[in-house]
């Protein structure tokens, strides 16, 4: 297995991935342009390790060792020795393309360049590089230390070798990889669309209320959460932009059409749990 991993971006996903890698005996260079973000990421990892020890899932030794394997870096060129680089920067194609261009010139030609994008085209990101064969998607789910799934996304020009290396890395992390063609939403974000979309339409057509639809889906369907609870949990803005992105990428396919109810709620600042109110009310906020 590889010895050195580079992680680009110390947000929630980047930090989570670094944590997973360090726990699987891989040295991680965790890069962010923002030093404060880096420090916060390390604090979060430390806190998560502490919780793991308290729950008896991790040992003190294990976490001390893992933590020493995470090296904060603020220069992209510090990632040059990594065999695989996982990019988890913000979801902006221009920024990602720029990053990949720099990553390519800073690393050996054999380095695998993986993006954790959930909504952008791997093929489009790869187009910024000279060797698109080594660019791939590795879509982790939040929270990365817990969620088992990794979508391994094969761009138009991604090589079979790159796919195999991504699969091996995911397995080494103890994750379950599934190989997906580079299509909008990959598997999960695409197949989950109707769960929200039909629920919103049912609400819009007054077939049943928010509470009733959630209860039906949970009790009759056996789902852990109802669609409205889940939208509140994810954030209505995040959910809307995922839907909008699918709709645009499929050139107006009616199955992905966003719903005005959701749009109005986002406009009014009712974003779900994080804003205190979405389809449900969460806290008194004044």
């Amino acid at each position: 297995m590889i010895k050195h991993l580079g992680v680009v971006g110390a947000g929630t996903m980047g930090a989570g991935i670094a944590q997973v890698a360090a726990l699987s005996n891989i040295d991680v260079a965790l890069y962010d342009i923002n030093g404060t973000l880096l420090r916060q990421a390390l604090e979060r990892i430390k806190a998560d390790f502490k919780r793991g020890i308290e729950k008896g899932k991790l040992t003190q030794e294990q976490t001390t060792e893992a933590f020493s394997r995470i090296h904060p870096r603020t220069r992209l060129s510090d990632l040059s020795h990594a065999e695989i680089i996982l990019e988890a920067a913000i979801e902006d194609l221009r920024i990602k393309k720029d990053l990949f261009k720099h990553l390519e010139s800073d690393t050996k030609p054999s380095t695998l360049l993986a993006s954790n994008t959930s909504s952008l085209s791997i093929t489009a990101i790869a187009s910024a590089t000279q060797i698109p064969e080594r660019v791939i998607g590795m879509h982790f789910f939040n929270p990365a230390p817990i969620m088992k799934l990794v979508e391994v996304v094969q761009g138009q020009k991604t090589s079979q070798d790159a796919v195999q290396r991504a699969i091996d890395l995911a397995r080494h992390f103890g994750k379950t990889p599934v190989v997906v063609k580079d299509t909008p939403g990959f598997i999960v974000n695409r197949v989950a669309r109707p769960f929200y979309g039909e629920a919103l339409r049912l609400l819009g057509e007054n077939v049943a209320s928010v509470e009733e639809i959630d209860r039906i889906v949970k009790v009759e369907g056996g789902f852990a959460m109802g669609p409205f609870e889940l939208m509140d949990h994810i954030g209505l803005d995040v959910n809307l932009s995922a839907t909008q992105s699918m709709y645009d990428q499929f050139f107006g396919e009616p199955r992905y059409r966003p719903h005005p109810i959701q749009k109005r709620m986002v406009e009014s600042g009712m974003l779900g749990k994080k804003s205190g109110q979405g389809f449900y009310k969460y806290a008194e906020e004044k």
């Binding site: 799934l149 999960v188 057509e205 039906i216 056996g222 789902f223 009616p254």
Partner: protein
């Protein structure tokens, strides 16, 4: 107090033991409903649609097949989603044979209860229910009253479902109700992805279970419900809502006809 409660329950149970339920429609829903009612003390008589004559045996010996509808039936359950013409024939037959006071609970997954009630004479006795093969065992049933359903009918429905251990959710009378519509669209989306060869079928299931915590993957759901049922629901939604959004994928329709998910390469 406790004694009277017990006594009332005993009386109700005895009444129930005498009460007859007549179940007619498609396999395996007929079998599932019959077993469920029988388990809760009802006398159950069943019949299947023509094309599915006498296909199954029951765990419970008390369940009998009967071509004719006994006039002392208190509740009739009609479970046809695919062949709507057959459903109409079944409902007309039930309506003629049953006394006007007997309620008809009819699956309204592919045709609204309101439309169904226009086919029969005593239209205030019919109420729509959500019925799909994998959902009958679940502890909740969606009930769609029509504009003709009086309080009395709804009370009968409420007591009946309570007696077989189900909670109710009243919804508007629309094709697909709530869960069948959501589930069938998830399956449809997965079938479009499969058609485009986005991923392998087993990976679609793995991804949805691990990535979103669904109790079953879309293909597992489809197999549990039955592909013909799924296509029938989608076609009904497409017809009723007149939107391209509910168009089923050609692959899904093909699988429904052939019964085979994919060709092993």
């Amino acid at each position: 107090m406790a004694k009277t409660k017990k006594r009332t329950r005993q009386i109700r149970e005895r009444e129930q033991a005498k009460a007859k339920v007549y179940v007619i429609g498609e396999s395996p829903m007929v079998e599932e409903y019959a077993e469920l009612c029988s388990r809760h003390g009802y006398g159950v008589l069943v019949d299947w649609n023509e094309q599915q004559k006498g296909t199954t045996s029951f765990e419970t010996a008390a369940i009998k097949r009967s071509r004719s509808v006994p006039p002392d039936t208190s509740v009739a359950v009609e479970l046809t989603n695919i062949d709507v013409e057959q459903k109409r024939t079944n409902l007309e037959r039930l309506d003629k044979a049953l006394p006007p006071t007997a309620a008809i609970l009819s699956s309204s997954v592919t045709v609204t209860a309101t439309e169904q009630s226009s086919w029969i004479r005593y239209r205030n006795r019919l109420v729509g229910i959500s019925a799909l093969p994998a959902l009958i065992e679940r502890p909740l049933v969606e009930v769609a009253p029509t504009v003709f359903s009086p309080k009395e009918t709804l009370e009968v429905v409420r007591r009946f479902f309570q007696s077989i251990g189900k909670e109710l959710a009243f919804v508007q009378d629309r094709v697909g109700l709530v869960l069948p519509r959501i589930l069938c669209q998830i399956i449809n989306e997965a079938s479009f992805a499969l058609q485009e060869e986005v991923a392998l079928p087993q990976d679609l299931d793995t991804a949805m279970k691990l990535g979103t915590n669904y109790p079953f993957g879309p293909i597992e759901w489809a197999d549990r419900i039955g592909l013909k049922q799924v296509v029938a629901v989608l076609s009904a939604l497409e017809r009723d809502l007149q939107e391209d959004r509910y168009r089923s994928s050609p692959l899904l329709r093909q699988i429904a006809q052939s019964g085979v998910w994919w060709k092993q390469a």
